[in-house]
Symmetry: C2
C-alpha cells in the first residue's frame, strides 16, 4: 500500500524538496528544511494523492488513512512531549493546505486546533498566560466556525458574525485594539461564539480534538474546489487534477507575550531585487494579524533591536535557504518566547524589475547558469521595465482617498495621467496645445487613430484585450484600459459617469494600464529608467544599472534563441523604436494606417467615390507620393533588415464617414450631392465585413490599388538604393485563399517592380509572399507555396475564421466561455492550439512540402504572447512579429522555448 502520510520533525523527514508533486510546495519545503536542520515545528503531510482520491470518491478517504494519521500524530507527540487532546499538556496543531504551485490565500487554514474547554485549562496551567490561551481559543473557534462549519454572516450585518460579536465586545469595553481585551472578555467571547454556532448550525461546537482534526482536513481538501481557488487556477493555468496536500504541524505561538512574534522575511527586496534582507513582523501576534492589516507591522530591520539573536538566526537561515534553493526565498517565521521557528519557505514572488535584477545578479555570481537566469523571468514581466510608472506615494494616497473609480481590463500597461476628452479630434486639439490627454470612448474605431496617437491613455467602456483600442494601444505603447464596466459615456453632453463620479471634458484622470485601475485626478508619473536609456541615442553615457542588467539579459536571450523576432510597425517613429528594442525587421507594416491622415483620407475617399477606373487612378496618383514618402522613411530606418509591407486590407467602407453630418461635410468637400455619398456608403455596407470584400479581393476588383502601392514601395526602395542604402522590401498579399488569387496579384507586383527598377537603373532585393489568415489558405498551402516566397500567419483573422468567432462581438460570451472551461484560454490572446494551431501546423507542413526553405512567420497579435511564441518555436516557424514594446518579451519567450527544447533544467 502506498504511503499517504509523511512525517517530519527533529531533524528527520520522510520527504524532501523534490517531492512537490506529492507533498505540495509548502510540505516539500517543511520536509527539506527539517532535513537541513532548520528549526521547523514537527508535523506531517497528507499527500496530494489523498485529495485526488477525495474528489474521485465522493469525499471519502483511502483505506488506512486514519491509522496513518494517528501514527504520525503519535510521532509528533513524542518529539514535543505533549499529547493531542491531553488535558494537562495538550499538543495544538495547525492544519494548512499546500498545492504543488503556491496559491496564496486561496484555500483554507485552521490554527490552534486541539483546544477545547478541557485542554484550555491545561494550556493555562502550562503557560500561566490565561489571556493568551483564551485569545488562541477565540481565534480557533472563529476560524473553525468559518472554515469548517461554514458559518454565514447575519442578514442584518453583512460582516463575519464572529467579527461582529468581537466588535460589539470592544465597544462594550470601550477599547480600540484586540490586545486590550482581557482574558475574561475573551472567555466570554468564546462562549458567545459557540452559542452562535449552535444557533446557526443546529449542532454544538465539536469538543473532541480528533473530530476537530478530521473536520479541518476535510475542509482543506474541500477548499481546493472553492470558487476563488478554481478561478485562481484558471488564471494561472494550474491543472484541476493536481490537488492539494494537507500539512498538520505543531502550533507555535507568536502571541504568547512580548518575547513572541511573527512575520515574513524575504532574502532580497521583491520590488527592486536589491540584495537586502527585507520583510516585516509584529510582536505578540499570530500570522493572520500581519495579513489582515489591523495592526501595522514593523520593518524587519527593527527586529534586530527587539530580538537580536532570533534576527541574526533568521538572516543566517535566509542565506542558507537561498543557497539551497538557488533563488530568492520568502519565509514565514514565528518567535515563541524568544525561540525562532520557520513555518514556511518558498520562492518569492517579485516584480519584473526584481526578476531581472535577481536573475542577472545570481548568474553573474555563478549561483545559477545564464540559461537558468533566462528561465527565471516571466516574459510578460519585462514590460514593467519599459512602462512609465506612477509615483508610488501618490497612488497610495489616491487609493486611500477612494479616488480609484473602477477597474477595467489592463490592456496597455504603464501609467498615464491627463485631461479627459471624448472625441479623437479633441484629443488632437488639446495635444496640439501641449496638454496630456486621456481619450475616453465607448469603443474606438480606425477613424480615431490620430486621436489615439495624440493621447497618453485610452479608456473604453466596451471591448476586450484585443479590441481595436487595445491593439492600437499596445502597438503604440500607449497606456490603455478597456472594457471598463460601469463607465457610461454621453457624447452629447460631453461627460462620462462611473458610479456616482461625473467626469466632464477637461477633468483630470489617471489610468494604471498594468492593473486596470481608473483613478480620478492627476497622478505623478515618470518614465522607467530602461526605456529612457533605450530610446536615448547616447546610451553609454546615461546607462543606468537597470538598463545595464536589461541589456545584458537581452544579450543572453539573443544567444539562446533560435526564433527570429520582428515587429509590427506602420509609421517611421514605430520603426525607430522597434530598432531600439532589437527587432530584426518589420514583420507587418499595415499600409492602410497611413491612409487616415488628413490629406490622405481625402484622396482615399476620392478614390472610393470615383465612378470608374480612370477616376480611381486619378485619386491614387495623389496618394502615390505620400505612400512613397512613408515607405522611404521606414525602409531607410530599417536599412538592411526585411520590411514586410502588407497591401491594402480593410474593406473600403472603413474609410467613409457614417453619420449624416459627416456625410454632408464630405459631399460638400467634393461638391457632390450627399445622396451620392450615402448611396456609396450604403452600397459598401456589408452584413459580415470580416468575411467580405477586403484584402486581395479588393485588389482583384481594383488592381490599380496594388499597382499604386507597389509603385510607391519600389520607387522608395530604388531611391534608397541610389543613396547607397540597402532596403529589403517584402510585399505581402493579404487574405489569399487560393494560388490563383496570389498569382494574379504577384504578377502585378513583379511587373511594377521590374518596370520601376528599370526606370531607376538599380536592383532591389525583394520578395513577394502572402498572409495566411484563412483556413483554406492553410489547407492549400502546398499550392500557394509553389509561388509565394514567404508565409506570414495572420492569426487574428485565422482565429476568427477557424473558430467562427468575431473579435468585435465575442465580448458578450467569450469571458463566460473561458471561465466555464469551454475554451482553454482567450484565443485572441493565446493561440488556440487544437484549432488554430492545428491549421498552422498543416500550413507549415504543406507549405514546406512544396517549398523546403519557405520563410514562415506570424504577424498576428499572438506574436507577442509568450505561450504563443513557444508554440511558434515548437512549430518550427522562422520568426514571430509583434508590437515594438513586446519585442523583448517575445525574444525572452523564444529563448526559453529554445532552452526547453535543449533540455535545460527548469
Amino acid at each position: 500500500m502506498a504511503r499517504h502520510v509523511y512525517s517530519f520533525g527533529a531533524g528527520k523527514a520522510m520527504g524532501r524538496a523534490s517531492m512537490r508533486e506529492i507533498l505540495g510546495g509548502k510540505g516539500a519545503g517543511l520536509h527539506e528544511m527539517t532535513r537541513m536542520g532548520v528549526p521547523v515545528p514537527p508535523g506531517f503531510t497528507i499527500s496530494t494523492a489523498v485529495c485526488t482520491h477525495f474528489y474521485e470518491n465522493q469525499g471519502t478517504y483511502p483505506e488506512g488513512l486514519e491509522r496513518e494519521v494517528a501514527r504520525a500524530m503519535a510521532r509528533v507527540e513524542k518529539i514535543m512531549g505533549r499529547r493531542f487532546g491531553d488535558g494537562d499538556n495538550p499538543l495544538l496543531v495547525s492544519v494548512r493546505s499546500g498545492a504543488r504551485e503556491s496559491m496564496p490565500g486561496m484555500m483554507d487554514t485552521v490554527l490552534n486546533l486541539g483546544l477545547n474547554d478541557e485542554t484550555v485549562a491545561g494550556m493555562i496551567r502550562r503557560t500561566g498566560n490565561a489571556r493568551f490561551v483564551y485569545d488562541s481559543y477565540r481565534r480557533f473557534v472563529q476560524m473553525y466556525g468559518d472554515v469548517v462549519l461554514g458559518m454565514k454572516p447575519d442578514k442584518a450585518d453583512p460582516h463575519d458574525v464572529f467579527e461582529a460579536l468581537l466588535e460589539r465586545k470592544k465597544r462594550a469595553r470601550g477599547v480600540r485594539d484586540d490586545t486590550e481585551l482581557t482574558a475574561e472578555d475573551l472567555k466570554g467571547l468564546v462562549a458567545q461564539f459557540k452559542r452562535e454556532v449552535r444557533r446557526q448550525r443546529g449542532v454544538p461546537f465539536p469538543e473532541d480534538p480528533v473530530e476537530q482534526l478530521w473536520g479541518a482536513i476535510g475542509a482543506v481538501f474541500g477548499s481546493w474546489n472553492n470558487d476563488r481557488a478554481a478561478a485562481y487556477r484558471k488564471m494561472y493555468g494550474i491543472p484541476d487534477d493536481w490537488g492539494t496536500a494537507v500539512n498538520i504541524q505543531t502550533m507555535v505561538f507568536g502571541n504568547q507575550g512580548d518575547t513572541s512574534g511573527t512575520g515574513v522575511a524575504f532574502t532580497r527586496d521583491p520590488a527592486s531585487g536589491e540584495r537586502r534582507f527585507y520583510g516585516e513582523f509584529l510582536m505578540n501576534a499570530q500570522g493572520e494579524d500581519v495579513v489582515a492589516g489591523i495592526r501595522t507591522p514593523q520593518p524587519i530591520s527593527a527586529l534586530a533591536g527587539v530580538q537580536r539573536t532570533a534576527y541574526r538566526e533568521l538572516q543566517r537561515l535566509g542565506h542558507v535557504l537561498e543557497e539551497r534553493y538557488r533563488d530568492m526565498q520568502d519565509m514565514e517565521f514565528t518567535i515563541e518566547e524568544g525561540r525562532l521557528w520557520l513555518l514556511q519557505t518558498r520562492t518569492a514572488k517579485r516584480t519584473g524589475f526584481a526578476a531581472v535584477r535577481i536573475a542577472v545578479d545570481m548568474a553573474d555570481k555563478g549561483l545559477i547558469t545564464r540559461d537558468e537566469a533566462l528561465q527565471r523571468i516571466e516574459p510578460d514581466h519585462l514590460s514593467q521595465l519599459l512602462r512609465p510608472v506612477f509615483d508610488h506615494a501618490a497612488k497610495e494616497t489616491a487609493q486611500a482617498k477612494g479616488r480609484v473609480l473602477a477597474r477595467g481590463l489592463p490592456a496597455g500597461p504603464g501609467a498615464a495621467t491627463g485631461r479627459i476628452v471624448f472625441h479623437a479630434t479633441d484629443a488632437e486639439a488639446r495635444r496640439a496645445r501641449g496638454e496630456s490627454v486621456i481619450l475616453c470612448r465607448v469603443e474606438t474605431s480606425p477613424e480615431d487613430i490620430r486621436g489615439i496617437e495624440a493621447a497618453q491613455g485610452i479608456l473604453t467602456a466596451r471591448g476586450g484585450m484585443t479590441s481595436h483600442a487595445a491593439l492600437v494601444a499596445r502597438q503604440l505603447g500607449t497606456v490603455c484600459v478597456v472594457g471598463c464596466d460601469g463607465l457610461s459615456v454621453d457624447y452629447r453632453s460631453g461627460e462620462a459617469r462611473i458610479g456616482k463620479a461625473v467626469l466632464k471634458e477637461g477633468d483630470w484622470l489617471s489610468l494604471d494600464g498594468s492593473t486596470g485601475e481608473v483613478i480620478q485626478g492627476q497622478l505623478r508619473t515618470h518614465p522607467s529608467d530602461v526605456l529612457r536609456v533605450l530610446l536615448d541615442r547616447n546610451r553609454e553615457a546615461s546607462a543606468s544599472p537597470d538598463y545595464r542588467r536589461f541589456a545584458k539579459l537581452m544579450r543572453w536571450v539573443d544567444e539562446a534563441r533560435r526564433l527570429g523576432v520582428k515587429t509590427n510597425a506602420d509609421l517611421p517613429e514605430q520603426a525607430r523604436i522597434s530598432r531600439a528594442f532589437g527587432a530584426e525587421g518589420i514583420g507587418l507594416c499595415r499600409t492602410e494606417h497611413m491612409f487616415f491622415e488628413e490629406q490622405r483620407i481625402h484622396s482615399v475617399r476620392e478614390m472610393i467615390l470615383a465612378d470608374d477606373e480612370e477616376g480611381r487612378r486619378k485619386a491614387l496618383d495623389k496618394l502615390l507620393p505620400m505612400q512613397k514618402g512613408d515607405f522611404k522613411a521606414i525602409l531607410g530606418i530599417m536599412d538592411k533588415l526585411p520590411v514586410t509591407i502588407r497591401l491594402l486590407d480593410p474593406p473600403l467602407h472603413e474609410f467613409l464617414p457614417h453619420t449624416s453630418a459627416d456625410i454632408a461635410a464630405l459631399a460638400k468637400v467634393f461638391s457632390i450631392r450627399p445622396r451620392k455619398v450615402r448611396e456609396k456608403v450604403e452600397a459598401l455596407r456589408e452584413a459580415n465585413p470580416m468575411l467580405g470584400h477586403r484584402g486581395c479581393r479588393l485588389a482583384i476588383s481594383f488592381p490599380e490599388i496594388t499597382e499604386m502601392q507597389t509603385k510607391a514601395i519600389f520607387q522608395a526602395a530604388c531611391e534608397l538604393r541610389k543613396e547607397r542604402k540597402d532596403p529589403r522590401p517584402e510585399v505581402m498579399i493579404p487574405l489569399v485563399g487560393s494560388l490563383e488569387e496570389f498569382r494574379a496579384q504577384r504578377e502585378i507586383v513583379d511587373r511594377v517592380a521590374r518596370d520601376t527598377m528599370k526606370a531607376y537603373g538599380v536592383k532591389v532585393r525583394y520578395a513577394v509572399g502572402t498572409m495566411i489568415e484563412l483556413p483554406r489558405a492553410c489547407l492549400v498551402a502546398d499550392q500557394i507555396a509553389r509561388e509565394a516566397q514567404f508565409f506570414s500567419f495572420g492569426t487574428n483573422d485565422l482565429t476568427q475564421t477557424c473558430l467562427g468567432l468575431s473579435r468585435d462581438d465575442a465580448g458578450k460570451f467569450l469571458p463566460r466561455y473561458v471561465a466555464q472551461g469551454l475554451l482553454p484560454e482567450d484565443p485572441f490572446v493565446t493561440i488556440d492550439e487544437p484549432g488554430v494551431g492545428a491549421l498552422m501546423a498543416l500550413g507549415v507542413e504543406r507549405g514546406r512540402s512544396a517549398c523546403e526553405d519557405l520563410d514562415v512567420g506570424i504577424c498576428g497579435e499572438h506574436g507577442g504572447d509568450p505561450k504563443s511564441v513557444v508554440f511558434c518555436h515548437d512549430l518550427g516557424l522562422d520568426y514571430v512579429s509583434c508590437s515594438p514594446y513586446r519585442v523583448p518579451i517575445a525574444k525572452l519567450a523564444a529563448a526559453q522555448a529554445a532552452l526547453r527544447t535543449k533540455g535545460s533544467p527548469e
Copy 2:
C-alpha cells in the same frame, strides 16, 4: 513522329469513334460513320494535339503539319476527282472546329473555302448554275471576312458590314428574300464585299486557296479561346487544355437548286423523348440558313413528300447510328441534287423529360443496361419533371411581344404567375384572399418567411443562387428568380421598375425559374404530371406514363446507390412532401423557422426582451406547447425514420424588428418604452453576426432555451410512443467548436430526455449529435466524436468560415472570381473540394478514428448538388440531406457515384 492529320472518305477512315480525345467529337463521328458506310463527304481531321501545340508555341504549328495536310488533301482530291484550287473542276471544303465535348456555336466555321475568281468560273462551268455559285461565293467571302479577317461592324451601323451591304442590295432590287437576288446581283455583292475588306483591313481578300485554308485553320484554333468559348467551357466544366480539332471536309451543297437541301434530324423527340423521327429541313439552302432562322424550316416528315428516297435513307441511317451509338442521335444532313450526305452525328441534347424516357425505354428494350440508363441522366434534369410548367404557346407569344423584361438568376426552377407585391404581409393578405402572388423584394430576410410561403414566386434585385430567397424558395419548392440586375424596387411608392416598365402592386407578373426570365403579365401554368401523381395519395389510379417511368427509374436508383438521402424540412407539410419524394428521414429540421409565426414571434420577442432568466422562462413556457405540436406532427409523419432537429441557431436580433415604426409597435404590444426595445436591438447588434452570438453559444448563455426545446421534442415523442408510433428524434447541437461546448449541451438534453421519458413512462430511441460547421470542429473532431453520436456537416457555414467568405456579401466579387478562375466554382453551390472538402475529410477521418461507427452526413445546401453528392459518396459519408424537391436528384447523383466507384462504363 506522331500523326497529326487523320483522313476519312470512301468507306475508309484512319480514326474511329473511340478517338474523341484526338479527333474531337465531330471528327470521331465522321471517321466512324465513314467506316460504317454512311455517306460522308470525304475529308480529314487535324488533331487536338495541334491545338495544344498552337497555344503552347505562340500560334505556330508542329513541324511537318503542312506536308501532312497537303497529303491528306491529295487523298480527298483523288476520291472526289476534283482538285483544290483547280480552275476547271475545283474542290471546295468546309473548315470546322470539333472539340471533345460538343460546344455548339461557340467556335468558328468557314464554308465554301477554295473559291476565288478563277475557281468560280470552273464551278459555274461544272454546275451550270451561276446563281448558286455566286451565292456560295458571297457566303464564303462574308464568312471568311468575319471569321478569319476579323471584319468589324461600321460605327454608323452596328450590324455586320456584309449583312448591311446585302440589305442595301436587296432594297435596291426591291426584293425581300436572298433567293430573289440574281447571279449578277450576287457577283456585284462579292466585289463590294472584297472592296470593303480591302478598305477596312488594308489588304486584298486572299485569292490563293492554300492561303485561305491556313487562314481558316488558324482562325478555328484561335476561336478555341474566344470569350464565348471560354465562358461556355467554364459553365460546363470543360478543361481549357483539351483543345479543339479542325475538320476539313469536301463541301456538299444544299443550295444547288430545288433537289438540294439541308437539315437536322433526331432519332427521337428531344423534348418528350418519344420514339419518333424528328427534325426540320430547308430545300435549296445551306446549313446556316436553318440556324439563322431567316427562312422557316419545314418539319422533317415533310421531306418524305419532297425527297422520298433521301428521307427513307435518312431514317434508315438514324436507326443504324442509334444502334451503333446506343443513344439518341442528332444528325446534320445535306441533300445535293438528290443525293444524301451526312455531315455530323452526335448524341442529342434533350430535356429532363426526354432524358428519363429515353433512358428507361432503352434499358427496357435491352439496348443499354440499367446502370447505363442511370448514368445517361443529368441529376439536375430530374427537377424539370417536378416543376409546374408554362404553357408553351403562351410563353412564345410573350417573347414575341417583348414582354420578357429581364433575366435574373434561375434560383428556383418552375413557372409562376401572380400579382406583384412588395411586402411579405401583403403577400399573406392577398394569398388569404385566394390570389396568386409574386413577392418582389430588393432581398428577403427571415422576417419575410410567411410571405415567401404565401407567394407563388419570389423575385429579388439582389442576392445570388444561395441568397436567403434562393435557399428558402428551393426548400419550399417555390419558383424564384434572384439577382435581377436592372430591377429597382421603391417600397415607399409601392412600385418596381425594370428598364422602362413600371410594375405597381397588383400588376400581373410571371417568372420562369428555370431560365430566370421575368415576364410582364399573366401566363398560364400547369403542374407537371409526375408531381401531380407523386403528391396524390391514390397513386396507382392516376399514374401517368411519365410518372411510371420516373418511379421505375427511382427504383433502379435506390438499388444502385449506397449513400442515404434525407431531406431538410422545417414544417409538417414539407415532411409530407419529402416522404412522397422518397426521403429516408429528415436530416435538418430548423426549429427557428417555427418561431416566425405570428403567435410565436410574440413569445420569442418576450423572451428576448426579458431582463432575467425568470422572465425568459415565462416566455419559453408559452412557446413549449407550440413547439411540441410542430415536433409531434413532424415526428408522426416521419414515423420510423430519423428526424434530426437542430436547436435554436440564429442570433437573437434576427427576431427583433429594426425600423422605428416596428419598434414602436412592438413596444406598444408589450407596454414598455420604445427606448427599451431600441436599446435591446442596439445591444444585440453585431459587427459580424455570422461569427457572433448564435448557435450553441446562445444556448450556453441561456440554457433554458435548450431545456424548453428538448422538452418539446421529448414530450412530442413520448406522446407518439403512447399512440404506438415509433418516433426517432435526433437532437443536433449547432455551431459546436469544442467537446466542452457539446458536452455542456448534451448534459441538458440527456437530463431533460430522461426526466420526460420517466414522466410519460415510455422509452424513445434518440441520439444527440452536432453540426460540424466550423473549421475548428473538423480539427478537433476526434474529441467531439468521443461524445457525439452523429456529425452533420453544415457546409454553408463551413464554406463561409473556411474561405472567410460571407454569403451575403460575396455577390460583389464572387461572380468575377469564378469567371476569372480564381475559384473553380461557386463554393456555395458546389463543395469547394480543396478547402471545405479537405476540412470535411479531416473531420470524417478524425471523427471516425475516435468512434468507428459515427454516423456522418451533410445538411448544407450542397446536399442537393450532384457534384457535391458524388464528393460525399467518395468521402464515405452515410447520407446527404437536401431540400425535398432535390431528393430525387441527390438520389440519382448518389447512384451515379456508386456506379462510377463500381467501375461501370461511363
